[in-house]
């Protein structure tokens, strides 16, 4: 029995969370350092996983299986494919930055009692989320996945509801009301999705007699397991609904702007860059893997919804007056691209979608964290309260611009590669879809540049004259992210090598082939 690497990667942050929560109230700083160290150690483990993973090898690697509830055939069954490794790396990579960016976000404003330790709680919750997310990227047992998919709502709920953005124009009272509204909305939306999925999970067990993803896929491929078309479609819808809420897909998206607006910037990054990725990841792994026929059946509707998400999210981003809500709507537009890439069923689309998940995570983290630094300085989220920041804080403005350029997919930065792949993949099969989606890139330029122009350029507002530039800690957060954006934009090969074989497997799951180029087809 070899060392259970995958389990360790998830257990480490979970233990770290418990340890962080147990740090005495007076030792706040120690708790922060502990959380940072744990997240860095997790990153090391994730890197080890990535190194041990052989892209050309078996589909699921580093597998671990332990009996858990034999009566229902539930097993602690972990394994990663290239997509899982990529997203696990992304998660493990972002958490240290989130911890570092949120260094002071949960400092108590007053001392209430000796046992009052919000800081410890904040960082423990973040680590808890990390553990759950990593486990859901690793689980190859459907039931096991479901448990972590749902369980991550609990720490997220407390992170949104308990640690709001202090920069609120309505004062403390309004902040608390809106924060709890956002947290409850987040919880209810995702619970509703999750419960429908639970029904589908049970239905799957009844139909397939197993929870193990590789077993079911193998049985379906070999024809041992027949599933009626209607059964398959119903089960697909049950799964897809939950993932579409989490992703979020139009029209199930309205929880995201509230949650991202009210949460602190690092938590907003945690939501959109990490937690939401579980939704799109699960579409690729579970919807397409378990229900290939139903996926094809649903493709037209999903594509239309994805297109609406792209255009609608971008248009709404243009109309926002709140910086964080703007980023949230931009994310909705980007999730539209990801889902589009998954469901066009071409290698380029799916590789693009996977890269998009990683790149969107990094680029949104960069943009949102810088926005958070800006907001914490001025104490307002309204775009109208800013102007001319570029003059007083050039480094902040420069990093903000790069984050924005990544959001609008400027060639040379990582998101371009993925967005273009998605577009090409979409265009190859459905030219009209590809062209409509292309409008998204113009709109992306619009909302990004309008945001930059209104906040960073023009005459300096009197309130902003003494605005300090980025501090060392903040620069340490942003600079590596930007370096990564540039690196992956110029040389995405390490990532594509990881992803390509997994995409090939998925394509064979759904039994689709890339459309041939016209010239080849004519021969």
């Amino acid at each position: 029995m070899s060392f259970p690497l995958l389990t360790a990667t998830a257990v480490l942050p979970a233990l770290g969370a418990v340890a962080t929560a147990a740090v005495p109230a007076a030792r706040r700083t120690a708790a922060k350092w502990l959380a940072l160290l744990v997240s860095l150690a997790t990153l090391v483990l994730a890197v080890v996983v990535a190194v041990r993973f052989e892209p050309g090898g078996a589909r699921y690697q580093l597998t671990e299986t332990y009996e858990w509830i034999p009566a229902f055939g539930v097993r602690w069954e972990l394994g990663v494919d290239g997509i899982g490794v990529a997203l696990m790396l992304l998660t493990a990579l972002l958490i240290p930055f989130i911890v570092l960016a949120g260094w002071h976000d949960a400092d108590p404003l007053e001392t209430r009692s000796k046992r009052w330790r919000p800081t410890q709680g904040f960082f423990a919750l973040i680590l808890m989320v990390e553990a759950m997310v990593i486990l859901s990227f690793e689980a190859t047992d459907v039931f096991l996945f479901y448990i972590f998919f749902e369980a991550m709502l609990i720490p997220m709920y407390f992170l949104i509801g308990g640690f709001g953005d202090r920069a609120h124009q309505g004062g403390e009272e309004a902040a608390a009301t809106q924060r709890s509204y956002a947290a409850v909305k987040f919880l209810l939306y995702n619970l509703a999705g999750g419960l429908i999925m639970l029904a589908a999970v049970i239905g799957l067990y009844v139909a397939a007699g197993s929870f193990s993803l590789p077993d079911i896929v193998a049985a379906r491929a070999s024809g041992e397991l027949e599933m009626g078309a209607n059964t398959e479609r119903l089960l697909f819808l049950g799964f897809f609904f939950a993932f579409a809420v989490k992703a979020p897909l139009w029209p199930l998206h309205t929880w995201l702007p509230n949650a991202m607006g009210e949460a602190t910037a690092p938590v907003a990054v945690l939501i959109t860059a990490v937690v939401d990725k579980v939704g799109t990841f699960a579409m690729l792994r579970f919807c397409l893997g378990l229900f290939p026929e139903a996926s094809k059946w649903a493709t037209p509707v999903v594509l239309v919804l994805a297109l609406i998400s792209i255009v609608y999210g971008a248009l709404l981003a243009v109309g926002q007056r709140d910086i964080k809500r703007l980023v949230a709507y931009a994310s909705i537009s980007h999730f539209g691209f990801i889902i589009l890439g998954i469901f066009v069923m071409t290698s380029q689309g799916q590789s693009g979608a996977t890269l998009y998940m990683v790149n969107h995570g990094i680029s949104t983290a960069a943009l949102m964290l810088v926005a958070g630094f800006l907001i914490s300085r001025r104490g307002s989220r309204l775009i109208a309260d800013y102007g001319g920041v570029q003059k007083v804080a050039p480094v902040l403005a420069g990093t903000f611009l790069i984050g924005g350029l990544a959001t609008l997919s400027l060639p040379g930065l990582a998101p371009f590669v993925s967005e273009f792949l998605v577009l090409v993949g979409a265009f190859a099969r459905y030219p009209v879809v590809g062209i409509i989606a292309t409008f998204g890139i113009v709109l992306a330029a619009l909302y990004t540049l309008v945001l930059y122009q209104r906040t960073m350029t023009g005459p300096v507002k009197p309130e902003l004259v003494k605005l300090p530039d980025l501090r060392v800690r903040e620069l340490a957060v942003v600079a590596p992210l930007i370096a990564l954006l540039i690196f992956l934009g110029v040389y995405p090969k390490p990532l594509t090598d990881l992803v390509n074989p997994a995409v090939r497997h998925t394509m064979s799951d759904v039994q689709e082939h890339d459309p041939e180029p016209e010239v080849e087809a004519a021969k």
């Binding site: 209810l188 139009w250 029209p251 998206h253 309205t254 609608y312 248009l315 709404l316 243009v318 109309g319 926002q320 290698s347 380029q348 590789s351 001319g388 570029q390 003059k391 350029l405 400027l410 060639p411 040379g412 371009f416 273009f420 792949l421 577009l423 090409v424 265009f427 190859a428 030219p431 590809g434 062209i435 292309t438 409008f439 890139i441 113009v442 330029a445 619009l446 540049l449 309008v450 930059y452 122009q453 350029t457 023009g458 005459p459 300096v460 110029v490 040389y491 995405p492 090969k493 594509t496 390509n500 995409v503 394509m507 890339d514 180029p517 016209e518 010239v519 080849e520 004519a522 021969k523």
Partner: protein, 650 residues
């Protein structure tokens, strides 16, 4: 070697932008030095190409695989051939000169280091654009120059107008970029690749019947999408509106990016994709029409602007219209278009630098109505500007004469009615060019010295802004050497480049292996065309002299005719955009925000309210009487028992 060419300015950009304040003192020297390194490398490569046979002058350097994905290959690979080396020399040569010029021009700007960083970034992106070996890498350069242009137009970000102009330029360009990305996608679905050689070869093979035919519809679509991209970048109608506003940027930027290099990228794209356009005659016709319309459009706008830079911007638009028109003529025009592009790069950059020099001496005043009689105060500027002026109007013997004349000939050679129409348009355009350039010349350097008694100087009109910058009466003076030397070099180019390229068709033959070349057969003899061109030019100059040379120029612009007023407002294109796109967009987004809040969110909140209402009604059943609970227990049990019995009975 080719990669080093790009790496030099890229390194400069990275060092200057990340280096921080420590580099403030030396930043401009680093930037300039690296631009010259790049130029030197370009010259060495050029010499290397000269040493090879005419058919053997294509070097491809494959660096690494950029996006390796199933069924999709995009490499970082560079291609050096006659066409790209021409651009490389133009870009790095003019670029280096403008770096030198900027040392003087930006001397008092505290952010000079950053300016040079952006300039270097631009050089790198532009070199990637012209050296790329596939359309995706070209796209990277394409948007890269867009970014550099955005940063440089908005360099004085504290001015809201500059920030708006920068944003507008980027957005309009994005519309064009959309065309380019759709074109690349079409290529991918049609050919399975988007590297130059396979795409262009298979188009050629298909049209010559050597391979399976590719639908002409597809090719036309690709060509039109490429044209859309070219329109965005080269400020052609209908995507021209950003160029005038882009003059908010510092003048060296206008000279480098918005006159000599970046805006000509569209012409490069069309010429590079010549095989596709040749196979799609409908698209070619559209290209010539776009070129012709822009040519006249830009010229008319140029006539009406009082802002010296905007007048020059109109002229740039118009001259690029010439190039696009030529490029639309097919193999007769490709090489000619590039030749005009190069000569235009010299004289237009020179003119802009001259304008910058004038502004430098006039407290950054741009209104030509507040100039006048400056030739005495700025002799060097006057002479270099004057030579550029003679070149652009096509004065016989200077560079513009050779290149423009060739375009006019080629337009006539198109043949048939089209040929006559296009030829006439280009001729008329030449006349208008002469008119507006003479106007600029006369208003700036001749006539009375109107700047001496500006309204700002008189205390009677305190509400009028002083003439920008330092205020008060300006003291025109010649610019420092660091600025005049590049102007002199460019003036040399404006004078001699045309003759060097044109005599013996040296330039055309140099490019022939890449662009192919056919001699056109104009319906009238070449000599007649030349004579007509010179006549039209003389008429234009004469008219301008009548209007602006003989009569004093009023300091405040007269109301003018309908056409003048329209031209001052860029023929109402901005107003159209504003009403249709900006307003419409605002309404759309605002109503969508409302819909999102009330409708999409409303459905969910409505459900929540419904559940809440139902549960508050249900709550009344819980009245707290133990006996009523007992009743429901008994009732429930009775129902269950009855149901069980019934089930068994059935």
């Amino acid at each position: 070697m080719i990669a080093l060419l790009i790496a030099a300015p890229l390194l400069g950009a990275a060092v200057l932008l990340c280096g921080g304040r420590r580099l403030d003192k030396a930043g401009h020297w680093i930037g300039t030095a690296l631009a010259f390194v790049s130029f030197g490398l370009g010259a060495v490569l050029f010499a290397g190409l000269l040493g090879r046979g005419a058919e053997d002058r294509t070097l491809v350097q494959h660096l690494y695989s950029w996006v390796p994905v199933e069924g999709f290959q995009a490499d970082v690979a560079f291609r050096l051939d006659q066409l790209s080396i021409t651009f490389v020399l133009l870009i790095t040569g003019v670029g280096s000169l403008i770096h030198v010029y900027s040392i003087g021009y930006m001397e008092h700007d505290e952010r000079r280091r950053r300016f040079f960083g952006y300039l270097n970034l631009f050089l790198a992106a532009m070199l990637i654009l012209v050296l790329a070996d596939n359309y995706l890498l070209l796209y990277l350069g394409w948007e890269g120059v867009g970014l550099a242009s955005y940063l440089l137009i908005g360099f004085w970000q504290h001015k809201p107008s500059a920030a708006t102009a920068a944003k507008k330029a980027f957005l309009v360009n994005r519309v064009g970029d959309m065309g380019l990305s759709i074109a690349v996608m079409l290529m991918f679905t049609t050919f399975g690749t988007f590297a130059f050689t396979p795409v262009l070869d298979s188009v050629g093979a298909a049209t010559s019947g050597a391979a399976a035919p590719v639908g002409e519809g597809t090719l036309t679509a690709i060509a039109l999408m490429l044209l859309l991209a070219a329109c965005g970048k080269s400020a052609q109608v209908p995507l021209q509106s950003w160029l005038g506003d882009a003059m908010e940027g510092p003048t060296p930027v206008s000279a480098l990016i918005h006159a000599a290099t970046m805006v000509t990228a569209g012409v490069y794209l069309i010429v590079r994709s010549g095989a596709i356009f040749d196979a799609a005659p409908d698209a070619q016709l559209v290209v010539t029409v776009v070129g012709a319309v822009t040519l006249i459009f830009g010229a008319i706008v140029g006539c009406a602007k009082d802002d010296i830079k905007k007048a020059l911007a109109g002229s740039t638009m118009s001259q690029i219209g010439y190039m696009v028109l030529a490029a639309g003529l097919g193999p007769i025009g490709y090489a000619v278009a590039i030749m005009h592009l190069v000569t235009h790069g010299f004289f237009k950059a020179g003119l802009f630098l001259g304008a910058g020099s004038v502004m430098h001496g006039m407290n950054d005043e741009v209104d030509m109505r507040k100039y006048g009689g400056l030739r005495k105060y700025m002799p060097v500027t006057f002479v270099t500007f004057g030579l550029g002026y003679l070149a652009i109007i096509g004065f016989p013997g200077l560079s513009g004469f050779f290149s423009k004349d060739l375009i006019i000939e080629a337009a006539f050679a198109k043949g048939g009615v089209q040929g006559w129409i296009l030829g006439t348009v280009t001729l008329v355009g030449a006349g208008i060019t002469a008119y507006y350039m003479t106007r600029v010349m006369l208003m700036t350097f001749f006539g009375e010295e109107r700047w001496r008694n500006l309204p700002a100087a008189s205390p009677d009109a305190p509400d009028v802004e002083p003439a920008a910058g330092h205020g008060g009466v300006p003291h025109p003076h010649e610019s420092p050497k660091v600025m005049t030397v590049p102007m002199i070099v460019l003036a040399f180019g404006s004078v001699f480049a045309g003759a060097f390229f044109g005599i013996g068709e040296r330039f055309v033959h140099w490019l022939e292996p890449v662009t192919s070349f056919e001699h056109g057969h104009p319906p009238v003899s070449a000599l007649t065309v030349t004579a007509a061109t010179v006549t039209v030019m003389a008429i234009g100059v004469g008219l301008a002299w009548l209007h602006y040379g003989r009569r004093p120029v009023p300091v405040v612009a007269p109301r003018g005719s309908l056409l003048t007023r329209a031209a001052r407002r860029d023929l109402y294109q901005d107003d159209f955009n504003h009403v249709v796109l900006v307003r419409g967009g605002e309404h759309l987004t605002r109503s969508l925000v409302y819909v999102d809040h009330t409708l999409v969110d409303g459905v969910v909140n409505g459900t929540a309210a419904g559940v809440g209402g139902l549960s508050s009604r249900m709550r009344r059943l819980q009245n707290g009487f133990a006996r009523s609970y007992a009743v429901s227990m008994f009732g429930g049990t009775a129902v269950l028992v009855a149901a069980t019995l019934l089930m068994r009975a059935v």
